[in-house]
Each structure stands twice: as C-alpha cells, then as structure tokens.
Amino acid sequence: MTDISDFDAPKPPAWFGAAIPLLIVLLAAGFYWFITNGENDSRNEETLNKKIRLSGKLSAGQTYYIFASEIEVYPTNIENEAWDQGKKGPDIRYSILWNGNAVFESITKDDSLIADWSGLSIELNWKDLLGKSVSSDDAIKAGRIRFEKSEKIEIAVEDVDVAADDDVGRYEIEMEKLSIGKNEFKLKKTASNAIRKITLRVLPMSSNIEDLANIMK
C-alpha cells in the first residue's frame, strides 16, 4: 500500500497561477455588481412609488388638473344631419364645468371627428428662442378642480361655427368615478348627444411637466 505525501502530491501546472489575476478581476467586478444591484433595487422601488402616485383614486380635498385628451363624435350631429352642411367635419371645442362654472375651455380643433389635445401648450415668440423658462402652470393647459365625493363635473362639447356654435353634447361625470391618469367614457347617440367617446386625463396639482408626459404615455 502506498501513501501520497504532500511532498509527492501533483503540483499544479505553472500557468495555473496566471489564472489568479483573472479571478481577482472577476471577484472585484462581482463585488461591485453585488453592492450596486441593491442600490438599483431601491431606485426601482422609488420609480414604482412615483408610478403609484400617478395612478389610483382621487383623494378628498385634493386639487387636480383635468383635461380631455381625446373626444370622438358621431358622424352626424344631434339632429342626425351632416356636420358643417356636409362640407367638412365639425370644429370641436370643449369646456369643463365645475359647480356650474366653466373652469376651462380648450382651443378649437378644426374638421375633426376625433379631436385630441395634449394638455401641454406653450405660446412662442421669436424672441423666446433666445431662452425662456416655462413653469408647469404656464405649460399645462387643463382645468383645475378640487375632489369632493358628492360633486360632479360636466364636459360640454361644441361645434364652433362662424354664425352660431352648435351643441354636440354634454356629459356629467361623478367625481368618484374618476381616477388619476386616463379615464374613458363611451356614450350613446341620443337626441341631445352626438359625443361618442371622451378620454379625460387627471393628474395631481403637484405634478410637473414630466409627470404630465408620463400620464400622456
């Protein structure tokens, strides 16, 4: 029977030592990756919290921006006649009414059955190109409302004409039905309504332009 002593044990090949630098590099890189991976997790959690803040139900007493990002109307008006005497589509404008007062009026979107608004608008002058700072309040084009459970808001849509504006329809929404972000309402054609769909966007007053951009996504 033969014993292999330490002296007799096979020695690792000479190149084996050359692998040590590679191991050290991998260990150092792995150590850093292990540490920063935890940091990234907490950063992802922060992003998630922000997303949560930009979704969910409205809170009582809080103020919010509200605007219609899209309004679709039926191909004919409330009298079942063609819009603009069959020449062109309707020129759509909407207003938001809260407690019986118009708190916001949109710009008019010409010749559209589906009109859209970004909720973001900046008036530019040539001199502004030299540099201008824009606050969220200046740039966000939306109505401002305070959420109370029992209250309602009303969206009034008009077809803007040179002679007289025609009613497209009015839709009353209980504030409780609204949530932060996108809210869609599909409507039936009636004798007093030619609105097919309203897409409302709601965001907290504390939101900035980046939040608005996220909600518009």
Binding site: A14, W15, G17, A18, A19, I20, P21, L22, I24, V25, L26, L27, A28, A29, G30, F31, Y32, W33, L120, I122, L129, L130, G131, K132, S133, V134, A139, I209, E210, A213
Partner: protein
Amino acid sequence: MNVTRFIIAGSCILLGLGLIAPTLTISPQAGGITWIIKIIAPEELAASTYSILGVIQKLYQTNDIFLAVLLAVFSVFSPILKLSFYWHATSLENSKKFNSTIQIIHYVGKFSMAEVFALALIIVVIKSFPGGSTANLEWGAYLFTFSVICSMVVSLRLDSKRG
C-alpha cells in the same frame, strides 16, 4: 517579488472595479432650444452614465459587433492577459524563461489599449461639444487609470530584474 505580486493584485482589483463602475457621464444639451427639448422630450436630454462594460454591451445591442469585440479585446481581455503574464513571470526562477515571458508580455502589451483608452477618455472630457453638451469623468475612470499606472510600475519592476 511579493511587492510586485501585491501591486499586480492591486492593479487587478482596480481593473475589475474600473470595468464595471461608472466611467463617463454625458449630459446632452441642445444650445438655445434646450428648454424646448426639456419640455417636449426630456428623456432625450437625460444624462447617460456608462461603464466600460456598459459601453461594450450597448455596442453589442446596437449591432456594432465589430466595435464591441474590438473594445472588449483591447480594453478588457488584453489587460487581463498582460496581468496574468506578469503574475506568471513573478513565479519564474529560471532567468531564461523569465526573459522569454517578459518578451511575450511586451508583445501582448502592444495589443493592450488600456493606456490609450484612459487617454481617450480624458481627451473626450476636455473636448467641448456642440450645443453645450458636457462629458464628465466618473470615479470608475480614475480606478481604471490607476490600474494602468500600477501595471506600468509592475512592468518597470520586472524590466529591472531582467538579466
């Protein structure tokens, strides 16, 4: 030789960290219309921080395979290979083998772009970009540079022992 191995180990640690740590942050600006871009597409002006491995990964993902391989070979594999030969050289007793290993190291060193890469990073930072965009070196670049310096010190120490 123990001191030399200690420096090689230090260089390896710095290289490992330098490859994965943030190396360069680029903050894009669009001159006079920066404020408009900030509103319309803020993500376009978001500062981007890259590590060396991050750049290689990004090049690979954007199908710039040639550049990705080039950067990986010259800035990652070649410096590691050089450090491996240094380590191997420190264990050699035979002066003939030692000299031939040093010759191989000098040959491999020609393909190591680590020094060039560190210099290129500094030039990129000094160079001014159009529209007020800026590039800032992050701490990973300094680790990478120190790794290069340690590697140079090792090279000098081994050269001085050459017969």
